[in-house]
Symmetry: C2
Subunit: 216 residues, 2 copies
DNA sequence: AGGATATGAGTGGCCAGACCACTTTCAAAA
DNA sequence: TTTTGAAAGTGGTCTGGCCACTCATATCCT
C-alpha cells in the first residue's frame, strides 16, 4: 500500500493538518524540525514535500523566520503550465490565437454580465482613454480584469509576453475612436459588435507593427 | 545576489539540460548522485528539486531503475493543487469557465476553417460515435484536436483534469443525438448553433453529474 | 532612563555519509 | 543451456552537523 513516495503522504498530511488546525493564508506552520518529529519522518524527507509545495506557490518559506501558508489564489498553476506547456517549439500562431481566444471570451463575458453594464466604470475608462499616454496594454488588461476570471487573466498575461508584447506603446487618436466604439458596444451588451470591433483593431494593430518592423 | 534558493536553480538547470541534451519523454536522465556531483550540490538539495519536478509530473522516478523524463501524463499537480486550492468557489468557477472558453473557441475555429468542412472525417466520427462505449471525453478531445491549436489543446487537457474530469464516462443515447446535432451544425459551418448545442449539452451534463453525486 | 549593542534561541538552507529496498546485469553453478 | 545468485547501480530515507539569517531579549554604555 504505502510503497515508496513518503513525501507524497507528507503533502497530504500537511494539507490535512492545515484543514484541521484551521491555518489560514499568511499563518505560520510548524517548523521543519517540529513537523518532522510529529510526523515521524526525517527532516530531509519532509523538506522534499515542503519544497514541492513551495514550487507550486502553496507555501512560502522565509529563512530565519519560518514557513507560511500563502494565499491559495496565488497558486502557480499558470506558471507551471508555462514551464512545460510552452517549453517546446510552440508555433507563434498558436500563442497568438490562444491569446485572442481569452480576450474575446473576456469581452463576451463582460457583455453577458448584467452588473457590468450598470457600473459607472465606463465613463472613467473613457476619461483615462483620452488622457496622456494611455497604454494599449492597459485597455486590454482592463477588459481582462473586468471579465472577473482571474485564471484567464493570468493565462492571458503569460501569453501576451510569449507573443512579443503585442500591445506595447501608446494609443493613437485613431485607436481611441476604435476603443470608444468597442466600449460603447460593450455598454449596450452587444457582444458581437464589440468583438468584431476588437478583432478589427487587433488586425489593424498587427499590420501596423509589421509596417514599423516590430516583429516579435 | 544569488540568494535565490539553490533548488530552484537546479530546477532550471535540469530543464535546460533536458533541452540541450535533447532528452525526450521516456528517456533516462543521469542518476541523482551523478547530477549532484556535476552540479556541485548535495544530493539532498538535488532531490528537493527532483521531487518538485516529480510532483509537477515532469519527471518520473522508479526505485532501482532511475529517473525518467515523463510523458506528461499523471501529473500529481492536478491532485495536489485541486485539493489545496479548489476550496475556493471562485477558483473552481474560473477553471470551469476557462475550460469552456477553450472548447467553444475550438468549435468556432473549426467552423471558420474552410478545409475542415470538406474533410471526410465527420462520417467516421459519427461511426465511432455510434460504436460501443464511446467516451464523452473522446468527443470533446477530438474537437480540440481538429481546431488545430495545439497550445489550446494542451491547456484544455490540464484544465479538464483540474476541473474533476467532467467528461468521464460513456455517452448515452440521448447524448449521441445531441452530439450529432452539434456535428451537423459544424459541418454546415454554423458556429452559433454548434456552440449553443455544445453549451446545452455541457449544462445538461453538469446537472447529470450533480444528480449522480459525482462532485469533483 | 533611554538608546545602542551583544547575545542566544529558533529557523530554514545545505551538505556528507550511511543504510535500506529494489531492479538490472552477468558470471558462475547446475 | 538454463538456473541461480552475487554485485553494481539506483532511488528512498534517516541522522547529524554546520551555516546564515531573524527576532526577541538582555546587556551595556552614555
Amino acid at each position: 500500500m504505502n510503497q515508496s513516495k513518503r513525501y507524497l503522504d507528507i503533502v497530504r498530511d500537511i494539507r490535512d493538518m492545515i484543514r484541521q488546525e484551521k491555518i489560514k493564508p499568511g499563518d505560520r506552520i510548524p517548523s521543519e524540525r517540529e513537523l518532522a518529529e510529529t510526523m515521524q519522518v526525517g527532516r530531509s524527507t519532509l523538506r522534499e514535500a515542503l519544497r514541492s509545495l513551495e514550487l507550486l506557490g502553496l507555501i512560502e518559506t522565509r529563512r530565519g523566520e519560518g514557513t507560511f501558508l500563502s494565499d491559495y489564489r496565488n497558486h502557480k498553476l499558470v506558471e507551471v503550465l508555462s514551464t512545460f506547456v510552452l517549453q517546446d517549439n510552440q508555433s507563434h500562431e498558436d500563442v497568438w490565437q490562444t491569446r485572442q481566444i481569452h480576450e474575446m471570451a473576456a469581452i463576451q463575458e463582460i457583455c453577458q454580465n448584467e452588473a457590468a453594464s450598470q457600473m459607472k466604470i465606463w465613463d472613467s475608462f473613457r476619461l483615462r482613454l483620452e488622457g496622456e499616454s494611455f497604454q494599449r496594454e492597459d485597455f486590454v488588461r482592463e477588459l481582462m480584469v473586468l471579465s472577473g476570471n482571474r485564471l484567464s487573466l493570468k493565462i492571458w498575461f503569460l501569453l501576451k509576453q510569449y507573443s512579443g508584447n503585442p500591445y506595447d506603446g501608446t494609443v493613437s487618436s485613431e485607436e481611441i475612436d476604435r476603443m470608444n466604439d468597442i466600449l460603447t458596444a460593450i455598454e449596450r451588451q452587444d457582444a458581437d459588435t464589440a468583438i468584431r470591433g476588437f478583432k478589427a483593431w487587433s488586425e489593424w494593430l498587427q499590420k501596423e507593427r509589421i509596417r514599423n518592423g516590430n516583429y516579435s
